[in-house]
Symmetry: C2
Subunit: 142 residues, 2 copies
DNA sequence: TTAAATGCAAACGCTTTGCAATTGA
DNA sequence: TCAATTGCAAAGCGTTTGCATTTAA
């Protein structure tokens, strides 16, 4: 079932603004910010407002149609939930983002469930650290 | 070596404001926000400013004396690095925070290092999800 | 003495909100 | 029709910054 259908089914209206927000989320190659979604929306529908974007994202979050990830940029990024989950390694030296398969965190998820009864939402985790390239550079210097 | 000594050793001045920020960080039972540090500072040293708190925290971060954790509250919290590391499970239903031993994330850290050459900074990870109590409640309802 | 650090006020960037006008169902 | 949704403008919040003044070393 598409995002649009789910919205309608739950009794929410399918406005052009909402459809464009959903379109932007689907078109995005990677995680997208509210500002970027707004650009997409505004380019086709000039008299729009960024508050509509935020309100739509809020709604989609509640319906579990999008996930939010904090990459430590001072803003949050969004991703269509159905596109699948993955994790991110963020290098604190060069800023590079390495994508990680979801299954790498399965052992952790299992442990948390077994030992703490905690159902961890490990859908888009952002882990900071230092990538191999930057480690090598530092290693050479030292 | 204490935070104060490290500051001096690196050529930074030991101002009363900085000492009070460090004191607040040490006194804190758990992770503390800039605002809370400011309250501590301001109560003893009335004509202080929160920008001094932020500048001091920035400095302490650079020196790896404090770590920053984002609990998804729209603000960041600080913790003295030497007090040891641990992780946090945050229940999205009831807001409860469960502390986690550091060693639980060692397998993940090892995997990331071996498979990606990535040196992950797993010092204060915040993982959101749903705690056992809230899961039980939902289970009973369904 | 003097570079480093502070206080203040103003700005910043992202996000939220109140309210009147609009619109999908 | 009419409650849901939007646009707008303003505010809210945590954080940062420019600059004159103060201060630790």
């Amino acid at each position: 079932m598409s995002c649009q259908e789910i919205l309608q089914e739950k009794g929410h209206r399918l406005t052009p603004q909402r459809m464009l927000v959903i379109e932007a989320l689907h078109n995005a190659r990677k995680h997208i910010s509210a500002e970027e979604i707004y650009d997409h929306l505004h380019s086709r529908y000039p008299y729009t407002n960024i508050s509509t974007v935020y309100r739509t994202l809020e709604l989609l979050k509640e319906l579990n149609l999008v996930t939010e990830t904090n990459f430590g940029e001072g803003r949050v990024r969004y991703h269509v939930a159905e596109k699948g989950h993955h994790h991110h390694l963020i290098c604190r030296s060069c800023g590079k983002i390495i994508d990680l398969e979801e299954l790498l965190l399965h052992p952790l998820k299992d442990t948390l469930l077994q030992e703490y009864g905690f159902d961890a939402d490990l859908r888009h985790l952002a882990i900071s650290g230092e990538c191999s390239g930057c480690r090598r550079k530092k290693g050479n210097k030292a």
